[in-house]
């Protein structure tokens, strides 16, 4: 059973923010509610007020133009993103990633905003969005701010959001030509199991399709938050795509992570697997970029 609470249903972001500032610690935003309800049914969390933003119009959209890139409303469901023509065409790796989230039932209800704000390091979208240099737009009583996603996550289930702030939009810059991406969700039990390693790679090649002009790596399930593998990126940047280079890169990425040994594998195993997945991910991204 879930302990009792008052459900507040603001009709605008502004109203929601004022409710949040009014009740402070006693209140929390709820969107689809999937993750939050799990915490509440375990009685790990007993809020006095839940502020449901599901009734707020105009937070469910996918827009794209060359100049501003991609803009996704916080209440857009995983399913909508997975099936969006725009996203399939412009950011295929995103469509692939969101297709891998939970089950169809979860994707029909879960929202991109809720997913990011829950800040569970083992969820699918963050690594890919990190590798795509995503930003999030946040609205608070004192106005808006835009935060790079890599600065957004703080710790397990913790973000830089203030108690009275709401994430309203996710922004993804357009990708340069000859860019390819790949997302790997490596689980050690069933396909739908919580992954042991998540790796997203986005590769941009030079005009001759030889040099890795730019490489961005997003990782999940390997630290208290989803992270960028900066050292590995720096190492790969400007190098030619070669087996020995990938080998070296896989060693570097293994050192960049700080996994916890758990039901999905030991610390050592996860460190080794992220190396394997890096080689595979970069290769896949490289091949897509070359097309």
């Amino acid at each position: 059973m879930i302990s009792g609470f008052e459900l507040l249903e603001p009709k605008s972001v502004k109203e929601a923010c004022s409710m949040l500032s009014k009740y402070g610690d006693q209140a929390k935003v709820i969107a689809g509610g999937l993750s939050l309800l799990l915490f509440m049914r375990e009685k790990l969390y007993r809020p006095k007020y839940l502020v449901s933003i599901m009734g707020i119009k105009g937070l469910d959209y996918i827009k794209y133009d060359e100049k501003n890139g991609l803009r996704i409303g916080a209440l857009t469901t995983h399913r909508t993103i997975e099936n969006s023509k725009t996203i399939k065409e412009k950011f295929p790796v995103m469509a692939e990633t969101f297709h891998k989230v939970g089950s169809m039932r979860i994707r029909n209800v879960g929202t991109i905003g809720g997913n990011l704000c829950h800040a569970d390091p083992r969820l699918d979208p963050p690594p890919t969005l990190l590798a795509l240099d995503a930003k999030v737009k946040v609205v608070g009583p004192k106005g808006n701010r835009t935060i790079k996603l890599e600065d957004f996550f703080v710790n397990y289930y913790e973000t830089v959001l203030k108690p009275d702030e709401i994430l309203t939009e996710v922004r993804v810059p357009g990708s340069p030509p000859k860019t390819g991406g790949a997302y790997i969700r490596f689980s050690t039990k069933t396909n739908d199991d919580t992954p042991a390693v998540e790796l997203a790679a986005v590769v941009t090649l030079d005009s001759k399709k030889e040099v890795l002009e730019n490489v961005k790596i997003g990782l999940g399930a390997l630290a208290p938050t989803a992270i960028r593998a900066k050292k590995t990126e720096v190492f790969l940047k400007g190098k030619k795509f070669k087996a020995d280079i990938l080998e070296e890169a896989s060693r570097i990425v293994s050192q960049e992570v700080d996994p916890i040994g758990d039901l999905r594998g030991s610390e050592e195993y996860k460190k080794e697997m992220v190396g394997v997945m890096l080689k595979r991910g970069v290769k896949m991204a490289y091949e897509k970029a070359g097309r």
Binding site: T188, T190, L263, V276
Partner: protein, 759 residues
């Protein structure tokens, strides 16, 4: 071959309409007027002495009608084989999840609130989680009698001679974990208590009458004062045999409040405190002669009983000896030890104790084949049990198509070709199995009985207490009845299990229903048929011996023109001076024997099923992850009554068997289950299963004692699955994994060690 009109047909399940429309009623769907909701408080610690239980606050919660502690129970020790459990603990708690107190309230939230307010003071006691630690003489005692619940030992045949004869000897340790049934419906009960003194319980169980006996024992009541009713049951797989106290607690709450009480386990409670598969630690040594025949076998298994003894004392004996009739073992030595630990009590799960020893022996058969230079199929053919054999334990094999099943599986898998031309990191593996059709154990009776009523409308109603838990018993029994009387299956109905109206039956375990209950129902219908024929013979002026029944008509052999319908005859029996309703009774006890205690001799079952499974896997050499590409199951289940349902049984068993092989395991930390939910304890989804699965029934050898030649088939589907996959993994990447589950990490580690050794 005999011509059948109903047997062997792919008929839909008789209760199917209710299940596809959501109308089927499971215990949690029943709501009685004035009903209360029950909840149980469980021990948070693995071992401790209860110093004090404070229920004052809980009793004050509005809506709470009863709060029970161990002090409110009869304090009678009970258990399936060893009496070491209490309905609610009052002295010590022995595992995380042990039942300590219970509440009944007007709604779930009040019940939960009250549970949270019960304060229990414990004195923590030393804990034991490892069987080998617990076996030590100086180990702290979990029960007064000590930590060894059972110890069996035997030497049979010319063991020493066998050792001398052996040209090749192999010795290995194998381990298998505690795994969970994962039936989709959690256990639960609804109990009502009438002041007349009768306790009625709707129970999610697979053994109705045995459950009633246990409840009566544990509550100190007369069996006659308890009525059990079996609603639709959402799967059992051995777990719903009333080896844990849910029903008793629910009954006590109803007794105490005088109101109906519904008690349904949460998924987490199920993981913590139901009765999962026993974990085995097997030390196996086998010797082979030059020609590949088995010279001797020396097996020792140490099984984890958990904190109390449910079915584990029986499963442990099965782990040690059931496989001894798969091959022609002549010289064997065996030892089985069952040890208490501060973990969840273990019990019966599809296959009983059989799968762990198959995991060990069937791998060693492959090790031997490789060493001797024989094909895995060949070494098994050279040792395979044959029809007419009497095994080292005195098991009489009336029917056996093991050799045929090996050949058939190889043909379907295209074994030799595929093995010769497999791609890198792909491998093929096989495993053979034996299983029983019933197991004589309780009161030297393994029989079943049934009553059948032929209504004046010509329809049959069967009364049997064996019960349907999804496995298809009702449909199969209907088909047997229909065939016997010569009516269409749709004219047969079976009443739901109810101890007030059903005949006494042991229930669903040991794959016994088709074989044993099938014979009982067949006999009951034959009895009714005699009554009908007697009447028909008068009406047709013929002698009963000349009559036949077909398509719901009774007529003189060869003269269907003058035919009477079954309903006409049934009505004629009734509507006459001194008329009588047509009621047939049948009972059947299989030709089996109780086993001797230590040597475990005696023909434990009336019939034995055999089979071969083969699979093709691909192993990712960089991650150790296994993908099962295809699976072949060629089973000898005698004559198959309903192929569609039979295939379903094996396909479902494979889902459990592949999970057992690759990913299922209850993980414990400080005795606490660390993965007590479906997010962390993963069972296979549709896309985890191989797309290519072929089930084949080898009907070359029907069972002479079975109904229309049938024998049991429910459990065997997973018995040989884990060794088949282990052997395929070895064929693919050359490593032997001797511990289940065969996780990617274990496999990768083994691959690395192999490569290191190669360098």
């Amino acid at each position: 071959m005999q011509e059948f009109s109903v047997i062997g047909k792919r008929l839909p399940k008789v209760e199917g309409y209710d299940k596809v429309t959501g109308m089927a009623t499971y215990v949690a769907d029943i709501k009685l007027p004035h009903m209360l909701y029950g909840k149980v408080l469980r021990s948070p610690i693995p071992h401790g002495k209860i110093l004090h239980v404070d229920t004052e606050k809980a009793k004050k919660v509005p809506g709470v009608k009863a709060v029970l502690t161990g002090e409110d129970t009869p304090k009678i020790k009970w258990g399936a084989f060893i009496d070491d459990m209490h309905v609610l603990a009052f002295d010590n708690v022995r595992f995380v999840g042990d039942e300590v107190a219970a509440v009944a309230a007007v709604d779930e939230s009040a019940a939960e609130e009250a549970i949270d307010l019960i304060k229990v003071d414990y004195e923590e006691l030393p804990t034991l989680f490892d069987v080998f630690e617990a076996m030590k003489s100086d180990a702290p005692k979990i029960h007064e009698k000590g930590n060894v619940a059972l110890h069996q030992k035997f030497v049979k045949g010319d063991f020493e001679g066998g050792m001398k004869e052996a040209a090749y000897v192999f010795e290995e340790d194998f381990t298998t974990p505690i795994v969970w049934h994962a039936y989709l419906e959690t256990m639960g009960a609804i109990a009502t208590y009438s002041l007349s003194g009768k306790l009625s319980i709707w129970l999610s169980t697979q053994t109705l009458f045995m459950a009633r006996q246990r409840i009566a024992r544990a509550l100190g009541m007369r069996i006659a004062d308890i009525r059990l009713i079996q609603p639709s049951v959402g799967g059992g797989f051995g777990g719903k045999s009333c080896d844990e106290p849910t029903a008793m607690i629910c009954g006590l709450l109803a007794k105490k409040t005088g109101r109906p009480v519904r008690l349904i386990n949460t998924r987490e409670e199920e993981f913590q405190a139901s009765r999962p598969r026993v974990a085995a630690n097997i030390h196996l040594k086998m010797g082979f002669r030059k020609d590949g025949t088995i010279a001797f076998k020396d097996a020792r298994t140490v099984n984890d009983n958990g904190a109390y003894s449910a079915k584990a004392p029986a499963t442990t004996g099965v782990t040690l000896t059931r496989i001894d009739t798969l091959y022609r073992f002549k010289n064997i030595r065996g030892e089985a030890i069952l040890v208490y630990t501060n973990k969840v009590p273990t019990g019966a799960f599809r296959g009983f104790g059989n799968p762990p020893m198959h995991f060990a022996v069937e791998q060693m058969m492959d090790m031997a084949a490789k060493e001797i230079g024989l094909d895995p199929t060949e070494i098994r053919l050279r040792n395979a049990t044959q029809v007419g054999d009497v095994s080292i334990h005195g098991w009489r094999v009336n029917s056996c198509a093991l050799s045929d099943s090996i050949r058939k599986a190889a043909e379907l898998m295209n074994w030799k070709e595929e093995r010769a031309h497999k791609k890198a990191h792909q491998g093929l593996g096989m495993g053979c199995f034996i299983h029983v059709s019933g197991k004589r154990h309780f009161g030297n009776y393994d029989g079943s009985s049934a009553v059948v009523k032929v209504n004046e409308d010509g329809k049959l109603t069967i009364f049997s207490g064996e019960g349907e838990i999804g496995q298809g018993a009702f449909t199969v029994l209907s088909q047997i009845a229909a065939e016997e009387l010569g009516v269409p299956a749709k004219d047969v109905e079976i009443n739901v299990g109810d101890t007030d109206t059903s005949t006494y039956c042991h229930g669903a375990y040991a794959s016994r229903l088709t074989y044993i209950a099938g014979n009982a129902v067949k006999a009951a219908v034959a009895d009714a048929k005699r009554q009908l024929f007697k009447m028909a013979s008068e009406m047709l002026e013929a002698i009963p011996e000349d009559l036949v029944s077909k398509d719901a008509k009774i007529f003189v052999k060869g003269d269907p023109s003058k035919a009477l319908t079954v309903s006409e005859v049934a009505r004629a029996c009734l509507y006459r001076e001194g008329g009588f309703p047509v009621i047939g009774r049948g009972t059947w006890d299989p030709p089996s024997e109780l086993q001797t205690k230590d040597t475990r001799d005696g023909n434990t079952s009336g019939a034995y099923s055999f089979g071969t499974q083969m699979c093709k896997v691909e192993v990712d050499p960089e991650t150790g992850k296994v993908k099962v590409l295809s699976f072949i199951a060629a089973h000898d289940s005698g004559k198959v009554i309903n192929p569609m349902l039979a295939e379903g049984q094996i396909e479902g068993a494979l889902q459990q068997g592949i999970g057992y092989a690759l990913c299922e395991e209850m993980v414990f930390e400080d005795g606490k289950v660390m993965n007590p939910n479906f997010a962390d304890y993963k069972i296979l989804s549709a896309d985890d299963m191989p797309e290519k699965i072929k089930i084949h029934f080898v009907e070359t050898c029907v069972e002479p004692t079975g109904p229309f030649g049938a024998k049991g088939l429910g459990e065997p589907g997973l018995v040989a699955t884990s060794p088949a996959i282990a052997n395929a993994i070895c064929d693919a990447v050359g490593v032997r994994i001797k511990g289940l589950p065969m996780t990617p990490e274990k496999i990768l580690k083994a691959i690395k060690e192999k490569n290191k050794a190669a360098r």
